[in-house]
Structure formats: structure tokens, C-alpha cells
Assembly symmetry: C3
Homo-oligomer: 168 residues x 3
Amino acid sequence: MSKTILITGGARSGKSGIAETIALSLAPRAVYIATAEVRDQEMASRVALHQERRGEEWSTLAEPLDLAGALAATDGQGPRLVDCLTLWLTNLMLGGHDWRAAGRALAEALPAQTDPVIFVTNEVGSGIVPDNALAREFRDAAGLLNQWIAAASDEVILAVSGLPLKVK
Amino acid sequence: MSKTILITGGARSGKSGIAETIALSLAPRAVYIATAEVRDQEMASRVALHQERRGEEWSTLAEPLDLAGALAATDGQGPRLVDCLTLWLTNLMLGGHDWRAAGRALAEALPAQTDPVIFVTNEVGSGIVPDNALAREFRDAAGLLNQWIAAASDEVILAVSGLPLKVK
Amino acid sequence: MSKTILITGGARSGKSGIAETIALSLAPRAVYIATAEVRDQEMASRVALHQERRGEEWSTLAEPLDLAGALAATDGQGPRLVDCLTLWLTNLMLGGHDWRAAGRALAEALPAQTDPVIFVTNEVGSGIVPDNALAREFRDAAGLLNQWIAAASDEVILAVSGLPLKVK
């Protein structure tokens, strides 16, 4: 039976490192599903940094929008690490897609998976209320998406200073 | 003897849902004490969304300022859910009231309660330091208020992606 | 053998109070190493408030940059409370110093300590992504520094509403 794990935490809290360690503890090879759309130099550097840290145990699939499809296509290839849900949500919202429908469809696709799925996501709602309405809408959406995926997950981990804190 | 519970967490972390579940686990009917002052359409929508989710087990009392009075007036009617302390603090500060005195008076009113009190509050201090002094003053005040109520509470729960993480 | 403890948390989450209690539980007298550079009236008030709360059990050393040196100079005088790493990082970055080298050197200096070291640091990465690149760079640096010190620490505690939540 498949296992779903959600790793959440703030920026640079060590989420990706924890997720990678878990993925390779489940199987010798794993699939990295990158949701990042490289739109500027800062993001390109960040993606390169992440790829450098991962070794040859990983195959990489870039999928900014159709995560349910990417999971269906990679099932049977080992644990899938989706990094990250927050960028996926950004892509959906910027592209004018129905993020609620997509988020619910993703949660509903999880029980059908044979190989494990490990999601990385971000805590974006613990700062002061943002001035602009779009940022408030985004953090509300991110919080709801995290709740939906957490409810469908077997384990939920909060990353704090690089360390895993068990929530579920 | 009365029980006091504080539920804290970021935006859309599932705080209210957790609080409502706890309240109705303690008694068949509960009182919802809303601190929101509806000042614009965005807030009106948010309040309506919350009310829609709650069912007939709830009676509602709107009290933007005098929380100690609202608790005194509703003691004997079942568990009280106060949602939320951060909006209450906003009302106190915008109205030029002494939030420190009000916060301490609220904490001191808790041991006298017969029916349980469940507070919802927000984490607002885990982002980057805000540019403007008023926002910094608000997050400092919110943090202090949370500390005072947490110290007077029997249980404190951190909501993470809709899940409760026991702190006290 | 020395013990290293990291206390992290948002603004006004009770980090310093928790750290002070731990320090004085380890020995009757302790050393407070302040990294704050007093640059304006707001910071001066905050420093004064912190000093007022501490009693005669404390000696104070102000060191905005050379933390490894301050630890070497105070070893043998009892537990050292470093408050806080985030201000230290600010000082390093504003001064054009190599914060990565300084951070790693600090982590490497910890095993050689005889007396305990208690670090206070801040969670700054759980809000919405900041608009400006410098703020993003700072929160990335703060997250990495927290990870390095957490990896070198025996205990890591997340402060929530004034209460300690054990992470490591």
C-alpha cells in the first residue's frame, strides 16, 4: 500500500533535505517532481543548488501544472518527491487555473498510488497580515491546500531548523 | 472546574475547525463569541464563511471589545469559543484602548469561569521583521497577549496544516 | 561535557524567558552575551526591557560580531546565553562580513566549550515571500544559520506562546 507524507515548514527550514532523506530510506532510487517554473535568475540559481545536492539516485521530472498526471506517469518508478506544493499553487493561480479543483483532484488521486508520494510545502501564514489582497488570497489558498493534502497524508512533519517535528 | 484551551497557528492552519470540534466534544451546544468587527466586504465574506460551517449547535454573540464581560454573560450556557484574540487586539489598539490592561484582565477572569473557554489566536511573528513600526508594535503585542493567555490555559495547541500539535 | 541548546521561535514567543530559565537551572550565575548593536531608540528600549528583567545572577557582555571569541573568553564563567543569532547575522551582513564562514566557525567552536551555551534565534521564514531581494536573502541566510547551529546542538526548542516545544 502506498504511503503519503507531507513535509511543511518555513523558508530554509530544511524541508527538502528531510524529504530527500525519507525518499531514499524507502527505496534505492526515487523520482524528483519539480514544480518550479524557472522565470528569473534567482530561481534558476535556487533550482541548480537543489539539483546539485541530489545525487545519481534521482531521476527528475519537471511538471509545473499537472501533478496528478505526473504521479500517474511515474507510479511504479519508486518514491516520488514533489517539491513543492506552494510553487505549484503559484503556477495554478498565475495561469488562471481553478486551484481548488486541482488541489482536491490531487488529494483524491493519492489513495490510488502504488509507490509512496512525499510532498514538500511551505508555511506562509505565520507572519503579519500582508498589505495587499493578492498576497492574502495566496496565503489563504496555500493554507487550505496544505490542509487538504495533510488530511490525505499518512504522516505530516513540520521542519524546524532542519529537524523533523512529527505532527501526524 | 472550568477548562481553558488556547489554539494558535498561522492563517488558514485550521485553528477554528479544531476549536469547534473541541467545543462540541465538551457539550452538545456551545457559544461562539465573535470578536470581528465587519469593516469591509472581504471581512464580511470571511465571517459568512465561518458561520456557514457552524451548525445549529451554536449560538453566536458578537463582542469586539468587552471579552471579560462576554464570558461573564455566557457562563452557564456551555463551552465558549472566542474567535479570535488577534482581532480583539486589533479592535483594542485601533480604538485607543489599553490592550495590556484588557489582556491581563481577561487572563485574570479565566479561573472564575464555570464553563470551558476555548480561544483561537494567530501566529503573526514568524515572518520577516515588518518595515513599519505599527506592524512591529502589533506583532509584539499579539505575542505578549498569546503568552499571557497560554500561561492561564490548561491546554495549548499549535495548528499545523489543519492538525493539532500539543504544546501544553 | 558542554551542552548546547538552541531556542527558536517567532517574535515575542517567549524565547528569551525560556532561555534565561534554562541557563539559571544549570548554574547559579550565568553570562548574557548580547549581539544587539543599539542603533536607534526602539532598539534601545528593547535592550533596556530585557536587562531589567534579568537579575543580579547575570553578567553581561556585548559582542555584535566575534561570537566565537566571546565564547572562548567566557568559558569557565558558567552558562552563556547568546541573544540572539538573528541580530548577529544582521550585523555580519550589514558589515559586509562572510556570514557563511562565521556561522560555520561558530558551529565548529561549540564542541570545545566546557560551560553550556544557550542560543536564542528567530523564525523569520514562515510568512509570505518578501517583495525585496535583500529580505529574501536574509531569511534564507537566517534559516541556514539556524540549521547549522541546530545540527551542532544537543537540544532544540521551539517557543510557542511562551511555552517550550521540544524539537530535538
